[in-house]
């Protein structure tokens, strides 16, 4: 069950990441050309591009946790033999999952507050819809590391 879910999630993440970057490139490039050729781009264009950067950050982070490719200091784990390495990886994974879980909870509260207040990010897009990727990303990353804690790679 978990395996089927993760393969679906993998496809969604990869597809989403490509679409996010593709739109970022197209909108950003359109803005430059429109500004220089006919003196003005889309009013919401720059706002959209900056939100896309946030989404790329979180979705990219999700994929990085799927492949366990996050930036880290790996001096110690490189020196240890396999049995000890697994033990250390279990512990650091529990730590990471706990931090992500805590962050997911508090960022969800932040999104909920904005949902009730209703500020907008750009054009008429509400801010909460742009922010929601933060708790989602944190949750997915937390679950992945929980999995690594149970089954260290």
């Amino acid at each position: 069950m978990i395996d089927r879910f993760s393969s679906t999630l993998k496809a969604v993440e990869d597809g989403l990441l490509a679409v996010l970057l593709g739109s970022m490139i197209l909108v950003a490039a359109y803005q430059v050309m429109a500004r220089n050729l006919f003196g003005g781009g889309l009013l919401w264009g720059d706002g959209l591009v900056r939100v896309l950067v946030l989404w790329v950050t979180l979705v990219g982070g999700m994929v990085a946790s799927r492949r366990d490719e996050h930036i880290r200091m790996d001096l110690l784990t490189r020196l240890l033999d396999d049995r000890w390495r697994r033990r250390v990886v279990r512990l650091t994974s529990v730590f990471t999952a706990a931090v992500c879980g805590l962050f997911a909870w508090h960022s969800a509260r932040f999104v909920w507050l904005d949902y009730q207040d209703g500020p907008t990010a750009f054009a008429s897009v509400p801010a909460w819809a742009c922010e929601i990727v933060i708790p989602i990303g944190a949750t997915v990353m937390g679950l992945r590391y929980l999995l690594y804690a149970a089954r260290p790679r």
Partner: protein, 425 residues
Amino acid sequence: MIWAGVAILVLALFAGAPLFAVLLGAAMLGFFASDIDLAIVAIEVYRIVDTPLLVALPLFTYSGYVLAEARTSERLVNLVQSVFGGLPSGLAMVGFVACAVFTALTGASGVTIVALGALLLPALQRAGYDERFSLGLVTTSGSLGLLLVPSVPLILYGIVAQQLDVGEPFTIFELFQAGVLPMLLMLTLLIAWTLWRHRGGAVPRVPFSWRRLGAALVAARWELPLPLVVLGGIYSGIVAVSEAAALTAVYVTVAEVALYREIRLRDLPRVMVESMVMVGGILLVLGVALAFTNFLVDAEVPQFLFELIQAHVHSAVGFLLLLNVLLLVLGAMLDIFSALVIVVPLILPVAAGYGIHPVHLGIVFLANMQIGYFTPPVGMNLFIASYRFKRPLHDLYTASWPFMLVLLVALALITYVPWLSLAFM
């Protein structure tokens, strides 16, 4: 309770927990200790949206990945070789220049060693350079070019420093200009040393030929306008850095997919995902580091640090010397992006207290990091080279140290002659 948290964080850091998790934990612990609602951490991460310059990072990184996927490295080496190949020690110069350009375009993520090293190493050995020199060149040049536009670490330093808003204000453009002379100094010293080492004509020259140059130019025809797209727009002031990044991304995609046809359209999403995983990793660390930095500033940690250091170090030169040593050690342990987002917020206010210009500090910082990439025993490029060229680490240590010595001389000059970085300001 708080100290137990700090202990766990330090242990997690050295045990190899992801850096973003350690910083996130540190930020939450700090705000918790100051009785501030932890939702603030999410608000800080959301500040990524308020930094327009940040768009340049994913766009330039993507462009670099596309260039690395196509046969750009081959064309670059051919072109540079047809220009410099006829000079004494020409091929070594080709190596330095090509690596610098390619690293600036792709960021020093090891791509240079993987893509260019594989071309250069056999070519150098065939041309008569001994193995030690050739290995040393490809290993150490993998981070040459960090100071050149549009290198991602250079842009990232600008973003972090401008967020902090201490010391003299500067523009990203001024930071770009500042890297030019130090970069030329490094190249000059490296080439001078190469010439001296191969004095007496031990290495045969390749005669210059117009036909070769012509062929190389024709082969690189779609990539030749690239420096113009990247630099022309920025230097002429028509477009901002993030806009140049967008144009570069479009141009590179069209050139490699439609004109050269070296990347199939259906392979493009894979390249996009690869590049964005790296960007996601970097920006996630940056985002949580922003939150952590804000806590540190609130807690007046930079001031404390400044007073502590000032009690022992009295001059700017003394501080810079201390900084060099610290950064060399750090550069070998930490990757450049983490070092940038964690260390710069701490040392920039201190440096400003000594009257050091933020642009000068940035160049010194990056020049240090560049050397850290191949500082034994754990510099990242040593591992990449060892893996790529299938040589034991020990061979790479012995091959790299003469180059390291030359670059340390350059670093000393860059550090103690601020004019090199600030000449254009």
